[in-house]
Point group: D2
Chain length 99, copies 4
Protein backbone atom coordinates (compact mmCIF):
# COMPACT_ATOMS: atom_id res chain seq x y z
CA UNK A 1 0.00 0.00 0.00
CA UNK A 2 1.55 3.29 -1.18
CA UNK A 3 1.02 6.17 1.22
CA UNK A 4 1.89 9.79 1.79
CA UNK A 5 2.46 10.77 5.42
CA UNK A 6 3.54 13.51 7.81
CA UNK A 7 5.52 13.00 11.01
CA UNK A 8 6.00 15.53 13.81
CA UNK A 9 8.12 14.44 16.79
CA UNK A 10 8.21 16.24 20.13
CA UNK A 11 10.79 15.30 22.78
CA UNK A 12 9.79 16.04 26.39
CA UNK A 13 12.12 16.50 29.32
CA UNK A 14 14.98 17.98 27.31
CA UNK A 15 14.24 21.69 27.46
CA UNK A 16 12.95 24.02 24.79
CA UNK A 17 15.20 23.47 21.84
CA UNK A 18 13.98 20.48 19.88
CA UNK A 19 15.62 21.12 16.52
CA UNK A 20 18.54 18.74 16.95
CA UNK A 21 16.11 15.89 17.64
CA UNK A 22 14.13 16.65 14.51
CA UNK A 23 17.38 16.99 12.56
CA UNK A 24 18.35 13.47 13.65
CA UNK A 25 15.26 12.09 11.91
CA UNK A 26 16.07 13.50 8.49
CA UNK A 27 18.88 11.05 7.56
CA UNK A 28 16.65 8.17 8.71
CA UNK A 29 13.86 9.25 6.38
CA UNK A 30 16.42 9.69 3.58
CA UNK A 31 17.94 6.27 4.22
CA UNK A 32 14.49 4.72 3.75
CA UNK A 33 14.14 6.63 0.44
CA UNK A 34 10.97 8.35 1.58
CA UNK A 35 11.65 11.66 -0.23
CA UNK A 36 11.35 13.75 2.96
CA UNK A 37 10.06 17.31 2.67
CA UNK A 38 10.84 19.22 5.86
CA UNK A 39 8.44 22.01 6.81
CA UNK A 40 7.82 24.07 9.95
CA UNK A 41 5.33 21.63 11.51
CA UNK A 42 6.74 18.25 10.53
CA UNK A 43 8.25 16.32 7.66
CA UNK A 44 6.23 14.89 4.77
CA UNK A 45 7.25 11.56 3.23
CA UNK A 46 5.95 8.99 0.76
CA UNK A 47 6.49 5.28 0.12
CA UNK A 48 5.20 1.85 1.04
CA UNK A 49 3.30 1.73 4.36
CA UNK A 50 5.81 -0.72 5.87
CA UNK A 51 8.83 1.39 4.94
CA UNK A 52 7.21 4.60 6.16
CA UNK A 53 6.33 3.14 9.56
CA UNK A 54 9.65 1.33 9.97
CA UNK A 55 11.30 4.72 9.46
CA UNK A 56 8.90 6.45 11.85
CA UNK A 57 9.65 3.85 14.53
CA UNK A 58 13.37 4.47 14.02
CA UNK A 59 12.84 8.24 14.33
CA UNK A 60 10.79 7.90 17.52
CA UNK A 61 13.33 5.48 19.04
CA UNK A 62 16.23 7.75 18.04
CA UNK A 63 14.74 10.65 20.01
CA UNK A 64 14.81 8.43 23.10
CA UNK A 65 18.36 7.33 22.30
CA UNK A 66 19.43 10.98 22.13
CA UNK A 67 18.28 11.43 25.73
CA UNK A 68 14.60 12.32 25.70
CA UNK A 69 12.81 10.29 28.37
CA UNK A 70 9.41 11.03 26.82
CA UNK A 71 8.50 11.35 23.15
CA UNK A 72 5.20 12.46 21.62
CA UNK A 73 4.81 11.83 17.89
CA UNK A 74 1.89 12.85 15.67
CA UNK A 75 1.36 11.27 12.28
CA UNK A 76 -0.99 11.81 9.35
CA UNK A 77 -1.12 9.09 6.71
CA UNK A 78 -3.23 8.86 3.57
CA UNK A 79 -3.72 6.52 0.66
CA UNK A 80 -6.02 6.27 -2.33
CA UNK A 81 -6.88 3.37 -4.57
CA UNK A 82 -8.36 5.32 -7.48
CA UNK A 83 -5.01 6.66 -8.73
CA UNK A 84 -1.43 7.24 -7.56
CA UNK A 85 -0.67 10.58 -5.91
CA UNK A 86 2.67 11.88 -4.60
CA UNK A 87 3.23 14.74 -2.20
CA UNK A 88 4.27 16.92 -5.16
CA UNK A 89 1.05 15.95 -6.97
CA UNK A 90 -0.97 17.10 -3.95
CA UNK A 91 0.71 20.50 -3.86
CA UNK A 92 0.40 20.91 -7.64
CA UNK A 93 -3.33 20.10 -7.48
CA UNK A 94 -3.93 22.86 -4.92
CA UNK A 95 -1.83 25.36 -6.83
CA UNK A 96 -3.61 24.39 -10.07
CA UNK A 97 -7.02 25.00 -8.45
CA UNK A 98 -5.95 28.44 -7.28
CA UNK A 99 -5.37 29.80 -10.74
CA UNK B 1 8.94 -0.27 23.08
CA UNK B 2 5.64 0.10 24.98
CA UNK B 3 3.45 2.92 23.69
CA UNK B 4 0.08 4.54 24.15
CA UNK B 5 -1.55 5.81 20.98
CA UNK B 6 -4.66 7.32 19.42
CA UNK B 7 -6.02 6.53 15.96
CA UNK B 8 -8.65 8.50 14.03
CA UNK B 9 -9.62 7.19 10.58
CA UNK B 10 -11.54 9.19 7.99
CA UNK B 11 -12.86 7.53 4.84
CA UNK B 12 -13.32 9.83 1.82
CA UNK B 13 -15.59 9.24 -1.13
CA UNK B 14 -18.24 7.32 0.79
CA UNK B 15 -20.59 10.10 1.90
CA UNK B 16 -21.14 11.59 5.31
CA UNK B 17 -21.69 8.65 7.58
CA UNK B 18 -18.39 7.23 8.68
CA UNK B 19 -19.41 5.33 11.80
CA UNK B 20 -19.57 1.87 10.22
CA UNK B 21 -15.95 2.27 9.05
CA UNK B 22 -14.81 3.23 12.51
CA UNK B 23 -16.84 0.38 13.97
CA UNK B 24 -14.97 -2.06 11.71
CA UNK B 25 -11.69 -1.07 13.39
CA UNK B 26 -12.77 -1.92 16.90
CA UNK B 27 -12.58 -5.74 16.61
CA UNK B 28 -9.15 -5.38 14.96
CA UNK B 29 -7.84 -3.37 17.90
CA UNK B 30 -9.41 -5.91 20.27
CA UNK B 31 -7.88 -8.83 18.40
CA UNK B 32 -4.43 -7.29 18.88
CA UNK B 33 -5.16 -6.93 22.63
CA UNK B 34 -4.60 -3.19 22.56
CA UNK B 35 -7.28 -2.36 25.17
CA UNK B 36 -9.14 0.08 22.88
CA UNK B 37 -10.95 3.03 24.45
CA UNK B 38 -13.37 4.52 21.93
CA UNK B 39 -14.07 8.25 22.24
CA UNK B 40 -15.67 10.87 20.04
CA UNK B 41 -12.46 11.82 18.18
CA UNK B 42 -10.69 8.49 17.84
CA UNK B 43 -9.78 5.36 19.73
CA UNK B 44 -6.97 5.15 22.28
CA UNK B 45 -4.89 1.99 22.55
CA UNK B 46 -1.74 0.71 24.26
CA UNK B 47 0.79 -2.05 23.65
CA UNK B 48 4.06 -2.78 21.91
CA UNK B 49 4.89 -0.39 19.02
CA UNK B 50 4.91 -3.23 16.49
CA UNK B 51 1.52 -4.56 17.57
CA UNK B 52 -0.05 -1.11 17.66
CA UNK B 53 1.11 -0.27 14.14
CA UNK B 54 0.28 -3.68 12.72
CA UNK B 55 -3.25 -3.12 13.99
CA UNK B 56 -3.37 0.45 12.63
CA UNK B 57 -2.29 -0.80 9.19
CA UNK B 58 -5.05 -3.40 9.32
CA UNK B 59 -7.60 -0.71 10.28
CA UNK B 60 -6.51 1.61 7.47
CA UNK B 61 -6.54 -1.24 4.92
CA UNK B 62 -9.96 -2.42 6.13
CA UNK B 63 -11.48 1.00 5.39
CA UNK B 64 -10.30 0.61 1.79
CA UNK B 65 -11.63 -2.95 1.68
CA UNK B 66 -15.05 -1.69 2.81
CA UNK B 67 -15.18 0.54 -0.25
CA UNK B 68 -13.50 3.83 0.61
CA UNK B 69 -11.20 4.83 -2.28
CA UNK B 70 -9.38 7.33 -0.08
CA UNK B 71 -8.49 7.07 3.61
CA UNK B 72 -6.98 9.73 5.87
CA UNK B 73 -5.70 8.51 9.24
CA UNK B 74 -4.26 10.61 12.06
CA UNK B 75 -2.23 9.05 14.85
CA UNK B 76 -0.71 10.23 18.11
CA UNK B 77 1.81 7.94 19.77
CA UNK B 78 3.80 8.41 22.95
CA UNK B 79 6.32 6.53 25.03
CA UNK B 80 8.41 7.20 28.09
CA UNK B 81 11.48 5.48 29.44
CA UNK B 82 11.38 6.82 32.99
CA UNK B 83 8.42 4.69 34.10
CA UNK B 84 5.53 2.67 32.65
CA UNK B 85 2.27 4.54 32.01
CA UNK B 86 -1.04 3.19 30.69
CA UNK B 87 -3.92 5.17 29.24
CA UNK B 88 -5.79 4.73 32.52
CA UNK B 89 -2.72 6.03 34.40
CA UNK B 90 -2.74 9.15 32.23
CA UNK B 91 -6.39 9.88 32.94
CA UNK B 92 -5.95 9.19 36.66
CA UNK B 93 -2.97 11.58 36.81
CA UNK B 94 -5.04 14.43 35.36
CA UNK B 95 -7.99 13.70 37.62
CA UNK B 96 -5.65 13.48 40.59
CA UNK B 97 -4.15 16.89 39.78
CA UNK B 98 -7.60 18.45 39.61
CA UNK B 99 -8.46 17.71 43.18
CA UNK C 1 -21.52 27.22 13.75
CA UNK C 2 -21.87 24.27 16.14
CA UNK C 3 -18.77 22.10 16.34
CA UNK C 4 -17.32 19.13 18.14
CA UNK C 5 -13.60 19.34 18.87
CA UNK C 6 -10.63 17.72 20.59
CA UNK C 7 -7.78 19.58 22.30
CA UNK C 8 -4.45 18.11 23.37
CA UNK C 9 -1.97 20.47 25.07
CA UNK C 10 1.72 19.72 25.57
CA UNK C 11 3.88 21.99 27.74
CA UNK C 12 7.61 22.01 26.92
CA UNK C 13 10.43 22.98 29.21
CA UNK C 14 8.72 21.82 32.41
CA UNK C 15 9.90 18.23 32.68
CA UNK C 16 8.03 15.00 32.13
CA UNK C 17 4.90 15.33 34.20
CA UNK C 18 2.30 17.24 32.26
CA UNK C 19 -0.86 16.18 34.09
CA UNK C 20 -1.22 19.27 36.25
CA UNK C 21 -1.19 21.47 33.13
CA UNK C 22 -3.90 19.41 31.50
CA UNK C 23 -5.86 19.44 34.76
CA UNK C 24 -5.79 23.24 34.72
CA UNK C 25 -7.67 23.24 31.41
CA UNK C 26 -10.62 21.23 32.65
CA UNK C 27 -12.32 23.98 34.70
CA UNK C 28 -11.86 26.37 31.77
CA UNK C 29 -13.67 24.02 29.42
CA UNK C 30 -16.36 23.52 32.06
CA UNK C 31 -16.76 27.27 32.58
CA UNK C 32 -17.44 27.68 28.86
CA UNK C 33 -20.10 24.93 29.10
CA UNK C 34 -18.38 22.79 26.48
CA UNK C 35 -19.28 19.43 28.08
CA UNK C 36 -15.65 18.27 28.29
CA UNK C 37 -14.92 14.55 28.01
CA UNK C 38 -11.39 13.85 29.20
CA UNK C 39 -9.60 10.88 27.62
CA UNK C 40 -6.02 9.66 27.51
CA UNK C 41 -5.02 11.67 24.41
CA UNK C 42 -6.92 14.90 24.89
CA UNK C 43 -10.28 16.32 25.88
CA UNK C 44 -13.34 16.36 23.62
CA UNK C 45 -15.74 19.28 23.73
CA UNK C 46 -18.74 20.66 21.85
CA UNK C 47 -20.35 24.07 21.39
CA UNK C 48 -20.31 27.15 19.21
CA UNK C 49 -17.04 27.65 17.26
CA UNK C 50 -16.36 30.99 18.99
CA UNK C 51 -16.86 29.58 22.49
CA UNK C 52 -14.74 26.51 21.77
CA UNK C 53 -11.82 28.55 20.48
CA UNK C 54 -12.08 31.21 23.17
CA UNK C 55 -11.77 28.37 25.68
CA UNK C 56 -8.87 26.77 23.78
CA UNK C 57 -7.01 30.10 23.76
CA UNK C 58 -7.54 30.37 27.51
CA UNK C 59 -6.22 26.81 28.01
CA UNK C 60 -3.14 27.45 25.88
CA UNK C 61 -2.44 30.76 27.65
CA UNK C 62 -2.95 29.16 31.07
CA UNK C 63 -0.20 26.61 30.35
CA UNK C 64 2.18 29.51 29.76
CA UNK C 65 0.94 31.25 32.91
CA UNK C 66 1.68 28.10 34.92
CA UNK C 67 5.31 28.35 33.87
CA UNK C 68 5.71 26.52 30.56
CA UNK C 69 7.84 28.65 28.23
CA UNK C 70 6.72 26.64 25.20
CA UNK C 71 3.32 25.14 24.48
CA UNK C 72 2.31 22.83 21.63
CA UNK C 73 -1.43 22.32 21.16
CA UNK C 74 -3.15 20.02 18.67
CA UNK C 75 -6.80 20.42 17.81
CA UNK C 76 -9.36 18.52 15.74
CA UNK C 77 -12.61 20.29 14.95
CA UNK C 78 -15.59 19.12 12.93
CA UNK C 79 -18.98 20.38 11.88
CA UNK C 80 -21.81 19.20 9.67
CA UNK C 81 -24.69 21.06 8.10
CA UNK C 82 -26.90 18.09 7.27
CA UNK C 83 -27.91 17.39 10.87
CA UNK C 84 -26.83 18.11 14.45
CA UNK C 85 -24.38 15.66 16.04
CA UNK C 86 -22.96 15.69 19.56
CA UNK C 87 -19.93 13.82 20.84
CA UNK C 88 -22.25 11.30 22.48
CA UNK C 89 -24.08 10.87 19.16
CA UNK C 90 -20.78 10.08 17.46
CA UNK C 91 -19.88 7.39 19.99
CA UNK C 92 -23.39 5.92 19.88
CA UNK C 93 -23.26 5.74 16.07
CA UNK C 94 -20.04 3.71 16.17
CA UNK C 95 -21.33 1.42 18.91
CA UNK C 96 -24.60 1.00 17.01
CA UNK C 97 -22.71 -0.02 13.86
CA UNK C 98 -20.73 -2.60 15.78
CA UNK C 99 -23.73 -4.63 16.79
CA UNK D 1 0.15 36.02 21.78
CA UNK D 2 2.26 35.30 18.67
CA UNK D 3 1.89 31.77 17.36
CA UNK D 4 2.93 29.51 14.53
CA UNK D 5 0.28 27.05 13.36
CA UNK D 6 -0.66 24.41 10.80
CA UNK D 7 -4.12 23.87 9.35
CA UNK D 8 -5.31 20.83 7.39
CA UNK D 9 -8.93 20.87 6.17
CA UNK D 10 -10.81 17.81 4.92
CA UNK D 11 -14.21 18.15 3.26
CA UNK D 12 -16.50 15.10 3.49
CA UNK D 13 -19.37 14.25 1.23
CA UNK D 14 -17.89 15.85 -1.89
CA UNK D 15 -15.97 12.97 -3.44
CA UNK D 16 -12.25 12.34 -3.65
CA UNK D 17 -10.81 15.53 -5.02
CA UNK D 18 -10.29 18.01 -2.22
CA UNK D 19 -7.74 20.33 -3.80
CA UNK D 20 -10.17 23.06 -4.83
CA UNK D 21 -11.37 23.34 -1.22
CA UNK D 22 -7.84 23.68 0.07
CA UNK D 23 -7.09 26.19 -2.68
CA UNK D 24 -10.00 28.34 -1.48
CA UNK D 25 -8.31 28.72 1.90
CA UNK D 26 -5.07 30.16 0.56
CA UNK D 27 -6.39 33.68 -0.27
CA UNK D 28 -8.06 33.81 3.15
CA UNK D 29 -4.76 33.07 4.90
CA UNK D 30 -3.05 35.64 2.66
CA UNK D 31 -5.71 38.27 3.38
CA UNK D 32 -5.02 37.86 7.11
CA UNK D 33 -1.29 38.35 6.41
CA UNK D 34 -0.39 35.01 7.97
CA UNK D 35 2.48 34.23 5.56
CA UNK D 36 1.00 30.87 4.47
CA UNK D 37 3.38 28.10 3.49
CA UNK D 38 1.48 25.40 1.62
CA UNK D 39 2.79 21.85 1.92
CA UNK D 40 1.45 18.40 1.12
CA UNK D 41 -0.24 17.86 4.50
CA UNK D 42 -1.54 21.31 5.33
CA UNK D 43 -0.61 24.97 5.34
CA UNK D 44 1.66 26.59 7.93
CA UNK D 45 0.98 30.14 9.09
CA UNK D 46 2.12 32.61 11.73
CA UNK D 47 0.66 35.66 13.44
CA UNK D 48 -1.36 36.74 16.44
CA UNK D 49 -3.56 33.97 17.95
CA UNK D 50 -6.76 35.93 17.25
CA UNK D 51 -5.90 36.56 13.60
CA UNK D 52 -4.81 32.96 13.02
CA UNK D 53 -8.03 31.55 14.43
CA UNK D 54 -10.27 34.12 12.76
CA UNK D 55 -8.70 33.01 9.47
CA UNK D 56 -9.07 29.31 10.34
CA UNK D 57 -12.77 29.83 11.11
CA UNK D 58 -13.19 31.55 7.76
CA UNK D 59 -11.43 28.64 6.01
CA UNK D 60 -13.57 26.03 7.74
CA UNK D 61 -16.77 27.97 6.99
CA UNK D 62 -15.75 28.49 3.36
CA UNK D 63 -15.47 24.72 2.83
CA UNK D 64 -19.10 24.42 3.93
CA UNK D 65 -20.08 27.34 1.70
CA UNK D 66 -18.48 25.58 -1.28
CA UNK D 67 -20.85 22.68 -0.74
CA UNK D 68 -19.23 20.29 1.74
CA UNK D 69 -21.85 19.20 4.29
CA UNK D 70 -19.18 17.93 6.67
CA UNK D 71 -15.75 19.40 7.37
CA UNK D 72 -12.94 17.93 9.49
CA UNK D 73 -10.10 20.31 10.33
CA UNK D 74 -6.89 19.50 12.20
CA UNK D 75 -4.73 22.22 13.69
CA UNK D 76 -1.36 22.41 15.41
CA UNK D 77 -0.49 25.64 17.19
CA UNK D 78 2.60 26.58 19.15
CA UNK D 79 3.97 29.54 21.04
CA UNK D 80 7.01 30.30 23.17
CA UNK D 81 7.66 33.06 25.63
CA UNK D 82 11.46 32.73 25.84
CA UNK D 83 12.10 34.22 22.39
CA UNK D 84 10.33 34.94 19.09
CA UNK D 85 10.37 32.18 16.46
CA UNK D 86 8.93 32.21 12.94
CA UNK D 87 8.20 29.22 10.72
CA UNK D 88 11.35 30.02 8.74
CA UNK D 89 13.34 30.12 12.00
CA UNK D 90 12.07 26.64 12.87
CA UNK D 91 13.15 25.19 9.52
CA UNK D 92 16.51 26.95 9.70
CA UNK D 93 17.14 25.58 13.19
CA UNK D 94 16.59 22.00 11.99
CA UNK D 95 18.73 22.50 8.91
CA UNK D 96 21.43 24.12 11.04
CA UNK D 97 21.45 21.14 13.41
CA UNK D 98 21.88 18.73 10.50
CA UNK D 99 25.18 20.14 9.40
Amino acid sequence: MKVTAEICVIPLGVGLSVSRYIAACQPILEAWHLKPQLHAYGTNVEGEWDDVFAAFKECHQTIHDLGAPRVHTTIKVGSRTDRPQTNDDKIAAVRGSSE
